[in-house]
């Protein structure tokens, strides 16, 4: 089936490293003309990285690409476009103040800088493209105000206008309604029938089954299988996605689970999450699983007062509390290690010690004035306790590795002596060795009587650490699985959205 003679695009030995961590290893893949090819895998399995390499967003560390048997170097998105490769992002790139028609031609006008732009022709061409796609978008309107689905259509139209032969759609259906998904599929099939190749990245197996001819499964940066979709059952695909041997992590030592520390009742923020009710007890680690975009981070941010919920109640240690800002949350003994370390965690240019003591203003400055002695002692203790590797406490934290930065953030929050700790993807982008250290630490924290809510997209992590695993999908809780019953399959099944079934069957 994979005959290199006829492949549109062949990848050989594609590998990619970020900061020394290999996220993609030796991927070989042949994409045929006139097929819709699904890429599936857990979050972080490498499928999006692979797609971005094809589209020129990243350069591979090793490996080569050939297009119609010609070796190609896709050095930038512009080169990719010239070669006929288009990547459609989940949230499409757009120039909101410019019209749809103009967004379609931007970057493809090769006329002299001051030559007159043929607006009439551009508008007519754009309308023709929209008619071809069978969508009714007024191309003279500005992009601002178009729905995400329409913006995706514009991107697709754009790829047609530049006559792309390979169109990569990165989780295009996540923000769409079932009806919009159906329209997208009709168009995707039509493009395939014209002989174009489409890469379809999705978590929704039903969609993969309904649309795609072949499916490639990624796991831990490796390609594990490429098969005709018809030859694989859903459970086959799930098994391939998670099929790594379950590593035996240090399980937490039987900590005593006490009374409820954190209780949410019907927490709702329209558009983000609905009716979230859960409880975390002292000494308990509760996992929160689900796919990216399921609303887990939004719930965490609501609990911590960064983006408070619109309705619902939060109880801390049995008392109803009002949390409107992180300051309130900290006062109630909460701590939150955010997912996006660079954006919401570290103070890149400031010293490690200042980063570690950022949340304990009162403790390092009992009388307004910062005690250098206390500051250093707290920082030094943390560095020793969490085994943070550094050259000097006065080193800017930006110079440390990701794992050590994350330890410093954790140290910051441990210094506030929280009774409830929310960890959002605490081991993302961290070396495997340091990960194990984190697992030990999280276990010890729970053993010390803290309540821990652990958001993670890594199923083995959830299974190894958590007393219970809750699963969210599309803003709602869909499962509450006790430790002994939890399996990767069960979690995955609860995480995959179900609401779009009817729309897909077409």
């Amino acid at each position: 089936m994979t005959n290199p003679e006829t492949a549109l695009l062949s990848a050989r030995g594609i590998s990619k490293q970020f900061a020394g961590i290999e996220v993609l290893s030796d991927v070989d893949l042949d994409l045929m003309p006139g097929e819709i090819h699904a890429l599936v895998g857990e979050n972080g399995a490498g499928k999006s990285t692979f797609a971005k390499i094809l589209a020129g967003v990243y350069r591979p560390t090793r490996g080569s690409l050939s297009l119609n048997d010609q070796h190609v170097d896709i050095t930038s998105p512009i080169v990719a476009q010239k070669l006929g490769v288009t990547l459609i992002h989940q949230e499409p790139i757009s120039f909101p103040d410019l019209s749809v028609a103009e967004n379609l031609v931007l970057g493809r006008l090769n006329s002299a800088p001051l030559a007159r732009i043929p607006w009439q022709k551009i508008t007519r061409d754009a309308q023709a493209l929209m008619a071809l796609l069978g969508v009714s978008i007024d191309v003279t309107k500005p992009m601002r105000g178009l729905s995400i689905a329409d913006q995706q259509m514009v991107e697709i139209a754009r790829s047609l206008a530049s006559n792309s032969r390979l169109i990569i759609m990165d989780e295009p259906t996540a923000p769409l309604t079932p009806k919009e998904v159906a329209t997208l599929f009709v168009i995707a099939r039509r493009l395939r029938d014209e002989g174009r190749t489409i890469i379809f990245i999705s978590h929704r197996l039903e969609e993969v089954r309904a649309l795609c001819d072949r499916v490639t499964v990624f796991r831990d940066g490796h390609k594990v299988a490429t098969e005709r979709t018809a030859n694989l059952s859903d459970s086959d695909i799930i098994r391939l996605m998670i099929g790594r041997p379950l590593k035996e992590y240090m399980h937490k030592q039987g900590s005593i689970i006490g009374e409820v520390a954190l209780k949410l009742t019907n927490l709702t923020l329209p558009g983000k999450f609905h009716d979230i009710s859960l409880a975390v007890k002292k000494g308990e680690i509760v996992g929160l699983g689900g796919l990216v975009g399921a609303g887990r981070t939004d719930v965490a941010q609501a609990i911590f007062g960064i983006a408070p919920a619109a309705s619902g109640a939060i109880e801390v240690n049995g008392k109803l509390v009002k949390i409107n800002s992180p300051t309130d949350a900290i006062a109630h003994g909460l701590a939150f290690v955010p997912e996006d370390r660079a954006q919401s965690g570290i103070f890149r240019t400031l010293a490690v010690e200042q980063n570690i003591t950022a949340a304990i203003a009162k403790r390092i400055a009992p009388a307004m004035f910062i005690s250098r002695f206390l500051e250093r002692r707290f920082a030094q203790d943390s560095v020793a306790k969490l085994r943070i590797r550094l050259a000097s406490l006065r080193q800017p934290i930006g110079e440390l590795s990701g794992g050590n930065q994350q330890k410093a953030i954790l140290a910051r929050w441990l210094l506030t002596d929280p009774s409830i700790l929310i960890l959002d993807e605490p081991t993302r982008g961290i070396d495997i060795g340091v990960k194990a250290e984190f697992y030990d630490m999280i276990g010890e924290l729970a053993a010390g009587g803290r309540a821990i809510l652990l958001i993670s997209s890594e199923l083995p992590e959830l299974l190894a650490l958590c007393d219970r695993v809750l699963v969210m999908s599309e803003g709602r809780l869909t499962a509450d699985i006790p430790r002994r019953e939890a399996t990767q399959e069960l979690i995955m099944q609860a995480a995959v959205p179900r609401s779009t079934h009817q729309g897909v069957a077409a």
């Binding site: 757009s94 120039f95 019209s99 931007l106 001051l114």
Partner: protein
């Protein structure tokens, strides 16, 4: 382009309504405001601001700001003034080339500092504002170019023309506005200015040369301030090293933002800016009639900038709300 037209016309219609209402209210109090003569006064007040505003509009659309235009105006006016004074034998029309050319160079210098060193435009142009003003003093030896040195033919351009006696500088300012409209709507580089301002991070992904576009807008802004410089000499008949162009930047920024150019970049039209300039012109012409001293002008410019910022924010908020509503529907 019809498309952009329909979306923005609402904002422009709003300014027209404001102009009409303002004129009617003032006219009700002082009927002489609604005469041809006061129209002439208004139209003689606005040409310099209009030309400066066209350049500033492009700069703000590209998400920058140029504070140095008043000093560029002063320097370029002085350059031509000195040519008139010390080399009266040179063909006076060359003053235009001199002012526009030197203005373009000064603007290019701003642009180079901003693109080469990745500095914020506001600080760079705050620096060059003073630098250019200082150079003006130095080259003029702090001496004013008096009326007798400015060629009569140049001064007459602000008085008269063969066409209905409408002064040349009015034609020129509207000509520049038309050219700016053309540039911003119908040329590739003009559209790239809007694309850059609309989404600076995505612009390079679409093959837009950000440095080139930035240099272009600052050079245009400088060149147009140079044109405004020689027109200053024409309009007022003298060039003073300290007064000429002083505070020009605030009038221009006020006109541009009231004309609907968003400080968040990407949005703005030449027509809106023209209307913004005319509204300011009406206000300035009405003040003396209403017996309000001219000293209130600066406060009005300041208030206008703040009010325009608030409107801009309201419009944006409403747009977001509509989007949310549409997404929910």
């Amino acid at each position: 382009m019809k498309s952009l037209g329909t979306t923005f016309l609402r904002r422009e219609a709003g300014i027209v309504v404001m102009i009409v209402l303002f004129c009617l209210v003032v006219g009700a109090v002082k009927p002489q405001f609604l005469t041809l003569n006061s129209l002439r006064i208004i139209f003689l007040l606005v040409p310099l601001i209009m030309i400066g505003a066209m350049g500033q509009m492009l700069v703000i659309v590209a998400r920058h700001v140029d504070l140095s235009i008043g000093s560029i105006l002063g320097l370029t006016a002085m350059a031509s003034g000195m040519m008139f004074r010390f080399h009266p034998e040179i063909w006076w029309q060359l003053g235009f080339a001199l002012s526009i050319g030197s203005g373009a160079l000064l603007g290019l210098f701003n642009g180079l500092l901003i693109t080469l060193f990745r500095l914020p435009a506001i600080i760079v142009t705050l620096g060059t504002l003073n630098l250019y003003r200082g150079i003006t003093f130095i080259m003029s030896d702090a001496k004013q170019i008096d009326r007798q040195y400015v060629p009569t033919a140049l001064k007459e351009m602000s008085q008269d023309s063969p066409i209905f006696g409408i002064p040349w500088i009015i034609f020129m300012s509207f000509g520049i506005a038309t050219l700016t409209y053309w540039f911003s709507m119908h040329t590739r580089i003009g559209r790239e200015v809007f694309a850059l301002g609309s989404n600076p991070t995505a612009a390079p992904l679409r093959g837009i040369n950000v440095s080139k576009v930035t240099l272009t807008v600052f050079t245009i802004s400088g060149a147009l301030s140079g044109l405004a410089g020689i027109m200053y000499a024409s309009r007022w008949g003298f060039v003073n090293p300290s007064n000429t162009g002083n505070g020009f930047e605030f009038q221009v920024i006020a006109a541009v933002v009231i004309g609907g150019v968003s400080i968040n970049g990407g949005l703005g039209t030449a027509l809106g800016t023209v209307l913004g300039v005319l509204l300011l012109g009406c206000v300035a012409a009405a003040l003396p009639l209403l017996g309000i001293p001219g000293t209130t002008q600066n406060a009005i410019y300041g208030a206008v900038i703040l009010v325009a910022l608030l409107i801009d924010r309201l419009v944006r908020k409403q747009g977001q709300r509509q989007n949310v509503a549409r997404a929910a529907a």
